[in-house]
């Protein structure tokens, strides 16, 4: 074997080992993303599970505004329909998921705002506790979303930066989507008092 081929072989071996290392790093990072995605889903599921109870409580109140209730029920239905598997968290899919969920957030905050107008409802212990639970689930969602974004950021950094991006291309890793700040969560819920 000539000197040249030996050098070429050594270089190739180093490159292969480097590539394996990078690939493994991405795989570990992807698992972190998937784990935190599972937690995000649990947090959203928790909210969805709370809604039937909330609807039941609010329905019991005499002449409660029906439209806000039906909004919540239909938003819940469409939000729970969108199931996003951890393996295809592409930016587009994330946006779809997030849109459906923020629709529900909006409907819920309108419902809670309307409920403020029913003092008898507000005074009940049951409603007060439900309100606390809902607040708690929203906080959990926020917490898990932040964590998810952190893990995605780490993953994307590994996948997108230059020499790594070659390996990512070979092994089928692609950029994942983030949770964007919610447009509907930022603006105050609009309540129409004319109805």
């Amino acid at each position: 074997m000539s000197k040249g081929t030996i050098i070429a072989l050594v270089v190739a071996a180093v490159l292969v080992f480097w590539g394996i290392g990078v690939r493994n790093g991405m795989a570990t990072s992807e698992q972190d993303v998937e784990a935190s995605w599972a937690k995000v889903q649990t947090a959203y599921q928790r909210r969805a599970d709370l809604i039937p109870n909330l609807v039941k409580t609010v329905q019991g109140v005499a002449n409660f505004e029906k439209s806000t209730l039906t909004d919540v029920i239909s938003a819940r239905a469409s939000a729970t329909q969108i199931k996003l598997d951890a393996s295809d968290l592409s930016p587009e899919n994330m946006k779809k998921f997030q849109d459906a969920q923020s629709q529900l957030s909006g409907a819920l905050s309108r419902l809670m705002a309307v409920a403020e107008n029913y003092p008898t409802l507000k005074a009940t212990e049951n409603f007060s506790e439900l309100q606390a639970q809902l607040e708690g689930t929203e906080n959990r969602i926020k917490e898990e979303r932040d964590r998810f974004n952190d893990t995605v950021k780490e993953f994307n950094n590994k996948v997108v930066t230059f020499p790594n991006s070659l390996i990512a291309g070979f092994s089928g890793f692609s950029k994942k989507g983030y949770f964007e700040a919610d447009a509907s969560a930022q603006k105050a819920p609009s309540v129409d008092f004319s109805k």
């Binding site: 212990e125 506790e129 606390a132 639970q133 607040e135 708690g136 689930t137 906080n139 959990r140 969602i141």
Partner: protein, 258 residues
Amino acid sequence: MSRKIQQYLAVLILSLSFLVKAIGQDIPAQPNPPLMVSDFVMKLKPEERNALEQKLRGYRDSTSTEISIVIVKNTGESDPYDYAMKIAKTWGIGAKNKNNGVLLLWATETRKIRIVTGRGIEDVLPDAICKRIINTIIVPNFKQQQWYQGLNEATDEMIQRASGEFKSDATSDDDSPLGFFIIVILVIVFIVISIIISKRGGGGGRGGYRGGGWTPPIIITGGSSWGNRSGGGGGDSGFDFGGFGGGDFGGGGAGGDY
């Protein structure tokens, strides 16, 4: 002379800048040594604070569950939830792998109460229960300015609900019989050796050595903020309990006002 004044000024400016930095920080720095009850407003009487501290420390020692009370004037710009979460996470209330910390935050000026629960304790203290504790225990007491009663009964309720859920590491780690045997053997060896020594020494000879005694290390805490606390560490609360465990929080809890 003027040089001295300059020096004084420099020191003054330096200390002022530290003060500004301290104010600029969102949440209060953790007292040193750490406390289960951090009353930054001195809203509780020293003996009340001490009683709560003792109770919560005792509970922590036996179960590893850390229930901490923090009393501040207000939560500044931030929402009570964000403020409480920041304290809870930064201070790391709760054991690290159990995440069984609870923070009861009370902002006296804005009359807000906020409970945040660690990830591991959410099951025994769900949000609805936290809300119930606030509504039915804290608020009625606080409305009558029964600050201590409110906090005491609220923490009693939490303790009762969390009882049996967690064990302190000290008890769970002692399960291995080997460790127990080693201790027994060590004790026997120690007794035998001390008997031999006392027989040989004939009492008087060694007495001088023993009389010298072991002087406990004296720890001087120069903080002026400790002046209010029961004569600078009278009672157990002056001692360091070892700090919080580094528990994590996931957004559980409830808030209210009175």
